[in-house]
């Protein structure tokens, strides 16, 4: 990738140093090691500082990219991170997990003739520099307003709402069902892609700003929305994510050895099952693993299985390579780590032994037919092409949908046909007075930065409400 140097450019895109694939496929340490100062300055020097920076329009929260990059080029790292933080409160996270190639970097003019600027890597550099060298000085908060806000769910949307409203002087309490805050950032995305220390540092920062966190609190069960208002909260933000795992609904799905990606990754990440027996939660150790699906969740599951000692890990996906929804970098990393891709292949049923333990999966070969409503060519089965893939573990990563646990407890919250919360897109307001929503529970599983963007819209509206009324 980075080697291909366009003629006009003097400096090539600086490659990200990474752990070597042979080693990292068996450990949980972070894969990309981060730019050092020299590399960061060199890469930042490639930016053309465009008058009309197209990159900015590719960033859902419109970070002033040329400004922060220029600061890095000048060695002013603290200025750089200050610029980023004006728009993005989780830069160390976004620099690592944003699908940059279809967002900021996808719109960078350098990308037209050669390699786009490594905006994500530079954002990560600035954020990591701040964590290591920053003054730790807290930003100034507006005077206390005495208004109380409850944020339900501690994923990126909730963290954004909390950060914004704390700075505006409101009292914020976050309620999280799990015993640890962070949402998908802690239970879903693995350590080797997003070290948990980084998420913990972001949350600690908010706690220093005054955030109260109530863990082990399942809103809808432990406490209802109406009770929150009775307790004196003036506004509630719902950012509970799209946590309901989808299954395939085919024969044999309840055999032992078949997991939802949610279960598999939660055991590994949140419960630290990969450190069993130091941690008490056991993990199934598949030797011959098949992962169904081709999004980020599938890549994370496959790479986790490889790290837990699998001999063979295969990704099975019913469409072709172009349709794979995962970030390009993750697909590339997975391939380097020896994960095989079986594309245009569709599961038909699971096969088990007399103890209900999985032994194989029957699949059907597909070919691309006519385009469907989404414009993608629809996969159609090839006749008589079915065969059995031997395997002792299957991880199903074909998506997630809205968890009804909270939303069904309050009829004043209107939902769409699929159970996602209906909001006014300009404000994030739900149909219930005083309640906002955003992130995956509104859009379905999307991205960290989009959830944060939704949090920003809602926090602006909540602040308006607390200042002026509904």
């Amino acid at each position: 990738m980075a080697e291909k140097q366009a003629k006009k450019e003097k400096i090539p895109r600086q490659p990200m140093p990474e752990q070597n694939p042979d080693e990292r496929r068996r450990n949980f340490d972070e894969v990309p090691l981060g730019y050092d100062e020299n590399t960061a300055v060199t890469e930042a020097g490639r930016c053309l500082d465009c008058k009309k920076p197209t990159c900015v329009s590719g960033c859902p929260v419109e970070i002033d990219i040329p400004a922060f990059v220029k600061a890095i080029a000048a060695g002013d790292y603290s200025g750089a991170i200050g610029k980023i933080r004006e728009k993005n409160s989780l830069p160390a996270v976004c620099g690592r997990v944003c699908p940059q190639e279809i967002q900021c970097e996808g719109e960078c003019v350098l990308g037209k003739k050669g390699d786009s600027l490594a905006i994500g890597h530079l954002e990560r550099f600035a954020a990591d520099w701040e964590r290591m060298h920053g003054t730790g000085k807290l930003p100034k908060k507006a005077p206390a307003t005495g208004r109380k806000v409850a944020v339900v769910g501690s994923g990126p949307s909730g963290l954004t709402v909390a950060g914004d409203l704390l700075l505006k002087g409101h009292d914020v309490t976050m309620m999280e069902a799990f015993h640890k805050p962070g949402g998908v950032l802690v239970y879903g995305i693995p350590e080797f892609r997003l070290p948990k220390d980084i998420v913990a540092a972001e949350i600690e920062f908010l706690e220093k700003l005054g955030l109260q966190i109530e863990l082990n609190t399942v809103v809808g069960r432990t406490v209802s929305l109406d009770e929150l208002f009775e307790q004196g909260y003036d506004a509630v933000f719902i950012g509970v994510g799209a946590g309901l795992p989808s299954f395939l609904n085919i024969e044999g799905e309840n055999l032992i050895g078949i997991y939802s990606a949610n279960e598999y990754l939660t055991r590994a990440n949140l419960m630290k099952g990969y450190r069993f027996p130091e941690y008490d939660t056991p993990m199934a150790l598949g030797k011959n693993v098949v992962v169904i699906g081709a999004g980020n969740v599938a890549m994370d599951s496959a790479r986790t299985a490889m790290r837990l000692g699998a001999d063979r890990v295969r990704i099975v996906y019913r469409r072709s390579r172009e349709e794979m929804p995962a970030r390009a970098e993750e697909i590339h990393h997975a391939e380097e780590e020896g994960i095989e891709f079986h594309l245009l292949t569709s599961p038909v049923r699971f096969i088990g032994d007399e103890n209900d333990r999985l032994t194989g999966m029957e699949v059907l070969q597909m070919e691309l037919g006519e385009p469907d409503e989404s414009g993608r060519r629809r996969p159609v089965p090839v006749e008589d092409s079915d065969y059995v893939m031997e395997c002792d573990m299957v991880i199903i990563a074909v998506g997630a949908s809205a968890n009804p646990l909270l939303t069904r407890t309050d009829p004043e919250i209107w939902l769409d046909r699929r159970g996602y919360i209906l909001i006014d897109p300009g404000t994030g307001k739900t149909t219930k007075k005083g309640v906002w929503a955003g992130g995956d529970i509104v859009t379905g599983q999307a991205t960290v930065i989009l959830a944060m963007g939704a949090g920003r819209i809602a926090s602006d509206s909540i602040h308006n409400y607390l200042s002026w009324g509904w």
Binding site: H179, V223, I256, S260, P282, A284, L405
Partner: protein, 278 residues
């Protein structure tokens, strides 16, 4: 942090009762619901049914059998010690109604789960017949409490050390033969619930069972607790834990409960060896 306010060892020493300070849960919990507990930072999330609540004191009661590493760890906690995390109340409450004559069948620690449900049915004005069974006398829990909330109480032990010698299904058959029963609730080991359901199916009496598959979150996000009911996949933590016993695939449940058997045995053994060496 959730403090243990009282601890009691029951039966032969393998069953423990904890009263835990958890005011929000104590306010809200209804019969049939459960909590998930985690003792320490490195601990596992373990589901236990809420056997009783005391909203004034802000405490809940759990009663558990010491079976593996996590419950051994729990059993080492004394009054005054804390659970790091307690989450709940989870699961759907029991649908308590006035059905007429209700038979409550409990086995082992299932009796602890059955107790608040039995009380609920009694308070709703039903004629309540309770049948409790255990391997041996010491394991017959909550006899007095169950007696207080039942119109009739029958006790069975496998070894005949107390009450009738035999299984709860023997006594249940007698009851079903002698009068009209409107509802049966069976809570205990999987084989017990399976055989009770098989029997009541012959008599066409509606039967509720409480399922205990392996759980992690207890909120419907992992799918680990899935059970097959009437050919459909259900998540026991949010769709249950109670289901129509005539529809449940008990054999699949039993096998899924053994999914981590090797690792559980290994860690339990190693843990006990380290503990005993100290």
């Amino acid at each position: 942090m959730f403090e243990i306010t009282e601890r009691e060892v029951l039966g032969d020493g393998s069953i423990i009762r904890n009263d835990i300070r958890a005011p929000r849960i104590a306010q809200k919990a209804k019969p049939g619901q459960f909590v998930i507990l985690k003792a320490t930072e490195t601990g596992e999330r373990i589901p236990l049914t809420i056997s009783d609540t005391n909203p004034e004191e802000g405490t809940i009661t759990v009663i558990y059998m010491v079976v593996g590493k996590s419950t051994v760890l729990f059993s080492a906690l004394a009054a005054g010690d804390v659970y790091q995390d307690v989450i709940g109340p989870l699961g759907k409450p029991t649908d308590i109604e006035k059905a007429g004559t209700v038979v409550c069948v409990g086995g082992g620690t299932g009796i602890a789960v059955l107790y608040p449900i039995t009380r609920g049915f009694k308070e709703a004005g039903n004629q309540v017949i309770s049948i409790l069974g255990a391997r041996t006398k010491d394991l017959l829990l909550l006899r007095d409490k169950m007696e207080n909330v039942s119109d009739e109480l029958h006790l069975c032990t496998d070894d005949g050390s107390y009450g009738l010698k035999g299984f709860v299904t023997d006594k249940l058959k007698e009851v079903l033969d002698s009068r009209t029963v409107d509802l049966v609730i069976a809570i205990g080991p999987v084989p017990m619930m399976k055989f009770v359901s098989r029997l009541t199916a012959e008599y066409d009496v509606k039967t509720l069972v409480s399922l205990n598959p392996i759980m992690i979150d207890g909120t419907g996000m992992c799918g680990g607790c899935r059970v097959s009911v009437g050919g459909e996949t259900k998540f026991a933590c949010v769709d249950g834990p109670e289901f129509d016993g005539h529809q449940v695939d008990f054999d699949n449940l039993s096998r899924r409960l053994a999914a981590y058997e090797d690792q559980e045995k290994q860690t339990h053994r190693e843990f006990c060896a380290i503990r005993d060496a100290r």
